[in-house]
Amino acid sequence: MTTITETTSQQPLVERRPRREDRSEWWAALVFTLPFVIIYAVLFIYPTLQMIWLSLQNAPLIGPGTFNGISNYVRLFHDRLFSVAFWNTAYFVLLSVIPSTLLGLFIALGVNRLKGFTQSIVLACFFLPYILPVSVVYRIWLFMLDQQFGVLQPIIAIFAGTHMNVFRTLSLFMPAVAFVTVWWLTGFNVLLFIAGLRNISPDIYESAALDGASRWQQFTRITWPLIWPVTVLVLTIQLILQFKIFDQVYLFGDGGRSDATMGMVQLIYRNAFQKNMGGYAASAAVVLFAIIVVFSVLQYQLLKVRGEK
């Protein structure tokens, strides 16, 4: 406190100092930002530029290559596996993003009604899967859906008439992996939606209830329009996240042995680490990179539009 009163009494002194202070700030800033800048340059910018450069070469994973222009890209766009990987990824995104967003909203609406201890317990039930490593999720669901011993097989038998090996049946593979992913990640969406719901003033609901608005009207006229920005945020975060899918598809696909379940990141992995074609893998990486950049710009624009209103 005493120091603050001193500040006011020594006002002129402070004003004379700026130029020398600036210089000392430069030094401090240099020392403070240097570790971050070095790491950022070496592990972010350099690999990104190197990726683009590598994609223009005919090169193995490790070792020198020869420049071959855009022929990697030409080859990539004619590669049947690339279109398989792209459409699988898009299909997975569709199957996981939309259900996890909608479920997230409905669960948040439900959890938000609860009070105190019950609320934290129920929220923890929905949220706990999200913080677990993918390997744990994989182990649990491999057992849950095991053809012989899976506890969910009786339910599957009701619909399919028989026990099924869901991860070895091609038509069920992506939906099953998406289902597991929704179970794993929806807790994150729930959390964001609850934060959004808490920002809506209870007064609005009270006056709406007094005006005789039904629950459905309250939802469509109040909750939905006010929660829309959070919905956009959740949708785009999940879209960007799920487009980078690898772990679950790889694990449930038994180490990616089948080309039919290939995703984009897995294609990069396959070309680089299993086929030793560094340049060709880099071209697929650049395409993924470009797709994510487009989505990110879209997300930024959508959020900015809402923010300005």
């Binding site: 120091t3 603050i4 000392s24 700030e25 800033a29 240099l30 403070f32 930002t33 570790p35 971050f36 800048v37 790491i39 950022y40 592990l43 972010f44 350099y46 590598l54 994973l61 490790i62 439900g110 009604r113 609860l114 019950t118 929220l123 039930c125 929905f126 706990l128 899967p129 913080i131 677990l132 993918v134 390997s135 182990r139 649990i140 669901w141 491999l142 057992f143 849950m144 095991d146 011993f149 959390l191 964001l192 934060a195 209830a209 007094l210 005789g212 629950r215 945020l233 960007i240 980078k244 690898f246 772990d247 694990l251 990141v265 990069i268 992995y269 680089a272 680490f273 990179f289 950049v293």
Partner: protein, 297 residues
């Protein structure tokens, strides 16, 4: 109880139709509550089922019929996993790499966030712009060149090789630190400067201690993220002794058919640290997740 007493005086001033609506709403609300609670139980069931299975003998696991509580309790699955596999070594690998990532990310991000928030220096805007732009870069797209880079540094199959590429998750931490340092009142800074404090003292004695809460939250979420990493540790560790626990438990399986109690036992051990961290620091985890998603918690 309180809801009933609250609505009573309001109900007296209402028309019968409105009163009926309120009552109907409460029944709807009751159903919503029941559905939510049941949903929560179903959602958590796979976790319960996973844990309970590890406490059964293997013969009971494959027995037909639903057995919600073990008939014969045993810790065989865990003793087998702990003494019969390399999980101890994988655990050390995971702990060392995840803790290192956490410490490095938090320290360098706090320093960078402080500079951008409080210091004037050439290149400040460029740095800030680049940090924001880095959100667009999909890290999994960089696996090829991270691998090339790490092999040039001769870091394949080393802890450092696992740690370094994970530091690219730093920028979001910088942004959060900047926001929090921005909100520290300027008076504190000026007062400390008059007292002769330099930038290092300002950072370590004023800005960092004033934001311990956010440092804890960010450290926890960074640790959970690093512990849960799969793709990169999977690529860079090609030898069994160098696996992280999340990779090891999926790559090394019993040669003699599927042993679910053991497989799930190793999975439970792999998930244990993050589950404990979450249960202890629930509020901090929640706060950090909202901050990283761009919502002020």
């Amino acid at each position: 109880m309180t809801a009933a007493t609250d609505t009573a005086p309001i109900a007296a001033t209402m028309s019968p139709r409105q009163y009926r609506t309120i009552k109907a709403l409460d029944i709807g609300g009751l159903i919503a509550t029941i559905v939510t609670v049941l949903g929560g139980i179903c959602w958590a069931f796979p976790l319960y089922w996973g844990v309970i299975t590890t406490l059964k003998p293997e013969e009971d696991v494959v027995k037909p019929g639903f057995q919600p509580w073990p008939e014969h309790f045993t810790l065989d699955a865990y003793t087998h996993v702990i003494f019969g596999t390399r999980i101890g070594q994988w655990y050390v690998n995971s702990l060392v790499t995840a803790i290192s990532v956490t410490i490095i990310v938090v320290i360098i991000s706090a320093l960078a966030g402080y500079s951008i928030s409080q210091l004037k220096f050439p290149g400040r805007r460029l740095l800030w712009w680049m940090i924001l732009a880095s959100f667009m870069i999909p890290v999994p797209a960089l696996i090829v060149n991270h691998f090339v880079l790490m092999s040039q540094f001769h870091l394949i199959n080393t802890w450092l090789g696992v740690i370094l590429p994970q530091l690219v998750y730093g920028p979001v931490t910088v942004i959060i630190y900047k926001q929090f340092f921005d909100s520290v009142p300027k008076e504190f800074r000026e007062a400390a400067k008059i007292d002769g404090a330099n930038e290092f003292q300002l950072f370590f004695r004023l800005y960092l201690p004033m934001n311990w809460g956010i440092t804890t939250a960010l450290a926890i979420i960074t640790f959970i993220g690093a512990w849960n990493q799969f793709l990169w540790p999977f690529l860079v560790a090609t030898e069994e002794p160098m696996f992280n626990v999340t990779v090891g438990i999926t790559q090394v399986t019993d040669a003699f058919g599927v042993k679910y109690a053991r497989d799930l036992g190793s999975a439970m051990l792999a998930g244990l640290p993050v589950a404990i961290v979450y249960l202890i620091f629930q509020r901090r985890v929640t706060q950090a997740i909202m901050l990283t998603a761009g919502i002020k918690g």
